[in-house]
């Protein structure tokens, strides 16, 4: 946008497809010329994906992973946004709670796997809990900072028009902080998608993470391992581009521009 290089409509598709094509052919010829017996070629992986599709596993696993992410992520948001609003609004509460948050935040959700299994047993809930943990902190912290950074002018204007504190939060503070909250939501979704794959390797017997580990363990089906990896990547891309659409909504776009 800023470097002056503008792609024409056909180029927007052509160059990325070409780049991916070059990558795939590099992969294809590397496998072919090295004579690897273990590593699958793109053709093997394509066959693997269609095998999964005909068995009906492809959609089931993708949807299982998405469902777990959805459950953990939505419940995290439901708790993280109100807590972030409160912590941002009451600096004293933030001063009390923030050190604890800052200690918990850098702990990788993966490190919580044993705790999660102790709490919820081996199963869906353990995986969902990990997604919850992974999503909660980025959203809560982004919301808190977003609220703190709301220009005092907006709060004053809101108070001037006679808004009660709860209305002030709903009609001024929340929308003013929303661009920052959305950044937190997007980061959280990315992390949640990383974590679901790891969680499914341990706690459950469906989903894309399970597909990776199961294909390797039962018969060293590396074509299916790589197929699962590609599906993970595509689904992650889908989630992220859905998010970018939200950022383009006019009521939040002001927060994503340098000038306004």
């Amino acid at each position: 946008m800023s470097n002056g290089l503008v792609l024409r409509l056909w180029e927007e598709w052509f160059w990325p497809v070409l780049a991916a094509g070059i990558f795939i052919s590099f992969w294809y010829f590397s496998v072919k010329w090295s004579g690897s017996k273990v590593f699958p070629s793109p053709l093997d992986v394509g066959a693997g994906i269609s095998e999964l599709a005909t068995k009906g596993l492809l959609w089931r696993y993708v949807l299982d992973s998405l469902r777990r992410v959805g459950e953990g992520y939505v419940s995290a948001i439901a708790l993280a946004i109100p807590s972030g609003l409160l912590l941002g609004w009451y600096p004293v509460a933030a001063a009390v709670v923030n050190p604890t948050i800052q200690i918990l935040r850098p702990i990788s959700p993966i490190a919580w796997i044993p705790v999660s299994i102790v709490l919820f047993g081996v199963g869906d809930m353990a995986a969902v809990f990990l997604i919850f943990l992974a999503s909660f902190f980025p959203v809560a912290v982004a919301t808190m900072n977003g609220v703190r950074n709301v220009p005092s002018m907006y709060r004053r204007a809101g108070r001037n028009f006679g808004l009660s504190p709860s209305k002030l939060i709903a009609r001024v503070v929340f929308p003013a902080a929303l661009p920052q909250i959305i950044v937190g939501l997007r980061i959280a979704l990315g992390v949640a998608w990383l974590v679901v794959v790891a969680a499914e390797m341990i706690a459950v017997d469906s989903g894309l993470g399970y597909l990776v580990i199961d294909s390797r363990n039962s018969g060293k089906r590396y074509d299916l391992v790589v197929a699962a990896m590609i599906l993970i990547g595509l689904a992650g891309l889908g989630l992220d581009s859905a998010f970018r659409r939200i950022e383009k909504m006019k009521s939040v776009r002001w927060g994503f521009r340098n000038e306004f």
């Binding site: 220009p151 002018m153 004053r156 006679g162 929308p175 776009r253 002001w254 306004f260």
Partner: protein, 272 residues
Amino acid sequence: MRQVEIAGTPISRNDGVVKKKTPKAKLQAHGIRMIFRRDGNTISVLDDVGLEVGEGEFVCLLGPSGCGKSTMLNVIAGFLTPTAGQVLIDGEAVRGPDPRRIFVFQERGVFPWLTVEGNIGFGLFKLPKVERDERIAYYINLVGLPGFEKAYPHELSGGMKQRLEVARALAVNPDMLFLDEPFGALDSITRLIMRGELLRIWEAERKTIIFVTHDIEEAVQLADRVVVMSARPAKIQRTVEIDIPHPRDISSKRYLELRDGIFEQIGLAHKV
């Protein structure tokens, strides 16, 4: 010689200047002191400032940057509680911000997440929808923004954003407007146009206006009365009546006399 022409007299501590045209005092501020404590230092920003403003009057608070005139306006608006002194509006002590008196910031005060309509309707949440829509349409016309109802502030120019903020303030039908260097961020041509617009709106709606500026020309073009404040800690140095009817000819002899008088009062040279 020019000094003599200044119509105002220095305000003494206890009695503000009450204008003959507007005998009813809308606002009375007495003995306002404001002391900020920062890093162990105490900074005195306002030192015994008194001010009286009549109903429907247009008063400019004029002073050098950082002198405390914005602080004074924030005290009047109820956003800051003074260290000493009291502000009475309609005989009632100011305890906080009030929708009857709207503060207009520089154009950055409009809400960027709301459309033009949404901004103007912001303070009208107590009205039924039909009435709210009527008011929004009326004020969009008044400030010359028809066709931009659905536009967001980042799609508007600086002058349009400023008019939007004035419209948002007027829509709740306040008795007073407090404007804090509202045109400071605009280019000089837009600023001149906006002054004309503000006077047109003031003549149509007859609100009591307190307008903070550091621009002498702006003050003399707009106000009924210019209150000149000293450097920090601010005191009121002098009050100058601007006895020129609107529209004002900014090359007329009287205008230049008044302007030059204030220039000298503030101690500025006439040559750059």
